[in-house]
Amino acid sequence: MTIQFNDETFRDDYSFHNSERAIKRFPFPFHEDSYMYSVNMEQHRGGPPDSIYEMRFDVDEHYVSEMRDRAMVLADDPLRCQSLPHMTLAGWDLLELIMVSKSEDYPDLFELHRDGDRWRWVNKPLGIDDSFTFLDEATLPYGPMEYITRQTQGDFCVLDQRDDNLWMDAGMVTTQADWSLDFDIGMNFFEWHAPVPLAHEKGIFVRALKFLLNIQQGTPARRLNWTMTVNPLLDTSPENYHKWGIQKTSLTPENLGAKQHLRVELQTFFRLPRSNAMVFPIRCYLCSFQDLMTVPKWGRRLHRVVRDLPEELATYKGFIDNRPMMLDYLSKFDDGLPTSDGIWPEVETEPALQRA
């Protein structure tokens, strides 16, 4: 597979864009015409060819530019990457998992050569060719978690498991939906989920934790989550809310289709072998409303989901004020026809929009 990497920005002039291929493989998160929380987990072992589920760590056209944006965030705020002292072994586990997965899944882009503890890692898109000693931090320019996550799309929470709970004891978090690693570091699963509305009452987190604690080596899991973002911003952090929060007021009926993005997280979960820790990669995909509307099924469904979402959730996801304007825009793409089950676009079988 050849990937043409975009040269684009996620700030200032926002030159981020999705190709036709990227739109087609966008992880539209709604499998039906309504949305409520659920522990919507499934095993993460492949998926349809060229879907974002196919590989263990999806690499797409935004890779090089996303890594450039991450480096800029870290230069401004080094606390976006933290690892408590006992998590170094888990960092090596993660480095191994990603290097092995990417070199096997994308042999034309990444190479891993191992001779005992002597490793050589080649990352062609980023122009990296490093030799180092596995488990010897002194031989890498960063700690193992930071080293590999500067080269991998998505945020990474590395969770220690003890006392029947998971603990946010390490992470690389620069593309987050308004939460802070620096605030959450050292918290357990219930503590860091405390702000989420409705889900506690439904017992979602008790069941989700039980599921996660039982994820074992060889059987990773995945789910989708979503929110809304104005402008294709990766770094919607609390630390920078003063910069991006105000942009939510810049929406107009004219610019909404281009500026308003559906933000989808592919969340995966892997047990790490040597440390018995878990890694929780949170991969962010952005797609503008106008690009989503090129898929008739998604146009119909997104209107219905946004319209019927409980107020608490629209508030928590940060778009309650803009919802009326979003609905004005989206309603033009909903002709009332039924939609087929599942998240896939089905452009071949789903009818085109019936009125202009």
Binding site: H86, M87, L89, L135, D160, Q161, R162, D163, K210, N214, Q216, Q217, G218, T219, P273, R274, S275, N276
Partner: protein, 320 residues
């Protein structure tokens, strides 16, 4: 399918260590590498003994970083249901078997400044892997290991010769005992205690540590229960609409699986909680043997762990 991922392996070495314990070495049939694991992990070994199928958990004792082979040590239990006897008497070098991916319910707390291991008998095995892991990471540890006699002291010689300062051995027949309160009293702050052995030993360590003021989170223990034989009984599986007989020498979980019903499981030793099953109706007495449910849940008659627990009475209906 239930349980952890499976690996097809070949038995490449069998070493009798003493009258009771024999060591087995497994390598992948396809010649590939096995997954690395963390010290304290176990594997579930599937045994096909004519038409009886058993799956028993055994701690991995080899170096977690050595991906060429796994080793386990099996203690013969003449009163058991036959799993260990099968391993001792029927398994031969060259046999092909199925084992599970490693699962760790007894992992090191990597925050610990020091790891204090307390082992009784065959309970030494998870510590052998943890010691190898800590040696590689320059971790600080100390072992106190009780055995019945020198002749039955599995791995005593290699422990004392390789780690003369860290390994402390106690023989019951010489009336040697761990001075536990004294031992706990002398530990540096940030020490974590790990105990693996008979139930009496685990209870003793937990109670003593609690009385000495140790935080509960700093005491780790693992006791795998082998399912015990018992009176046969009948069970109705409501969801799959089947009535099954649980034989004297099989567990309830094994009987459910024999009936072709896919039931969740992981450790098969009463510890992990995966096989927890709702009781819909019953008339009789439960013989609860697991560590998962608490006393109130055991008394409620609403749940059972079919991997190790049994039933005596007229009617048992399960939500399975």
């Amino acid at each position: 399918m239930s349980g952890a991922e499976k690996i097809a392996v070949k038995v490449t070495d069998i070493v009798p260590l003493n009258d009771l314990v024999t060591r087995f070495r497994f390598e992948r049939i396809d010649g590939g590498l096995l997954p690395t694991f963390s010290g304290g992990a176990h594997t579930v070994v599937e045994m096909r003994d004519d038409d009886t199928a058993r799956m028993n958990p055994y701690s991995l004792m080899s170096d977690p970083m050595d991906q060429r082979a796994y080793t386990i040590s099996v203690r013969r239990d003449d009163q058991g249901r036959g799993g260990s006897l099968f391993m001792h008497q029927k398994v031969k070098v060259g046999d092909e078997m199925t084992i599970s991916y490693p699962v760790n319910l007894f992992s090191l707390d990597l925050r610990a400044r020091k790891h204090l291991f307390i082992a009784g008998g065959i309970g030494i095995t998870p510590f052998l892997a943890q010691i190898k892991q800590l040696e590689r990471m320059n971790g600080r540890w100390e072992l106190h290991y009780t055995c019945r006699t020198p002749a039955l002291g599995s791995y005593v010689d290699e422990l004392t010769s390789q780690h003369p300062n860290e390994a402390h051995i106690y023989f019951d027949d010489q009336d040697q005992k761990i001075a536990l309160a004294h031992l706990l009293d002398g530990q540096p702050l940030g020490t974590h205690v790990y105990v693996c052995g008979p139930k009496g030993m685990i209870d003793w360590v937990r109670k003593t540590a609690a009385a000495e003021g140790w935080p509960r989170e700093a005491i780790h223990y693992e006791e795998f229960l082998a399912p015990q034989p018992g009176q046969p009984f009948e069970v109705k599986l409501a969801v799959s609409n089947k009535v099954i007989q649980v034989g004297e020498n099989e567990s309830l979980l094994e009987a459910i699986e024999r009936a072709g019903v896919d039931a969740p499981y992981l450790c098969r030793g009463g510890a992990c909680g995966q096989c927890e099953t709702q009781v819909i109706d019953y008339s009789g007495n439960f013989i609860h043997r697991d560590h998962w449910l608490d006393d109130a849940e055991h008394a409620s008659g609403e749940k059972i762990m079919p991997c190790v627990s049994r039933f005596e009475g007229k009617t048992l209906v399960l939500d399975r």
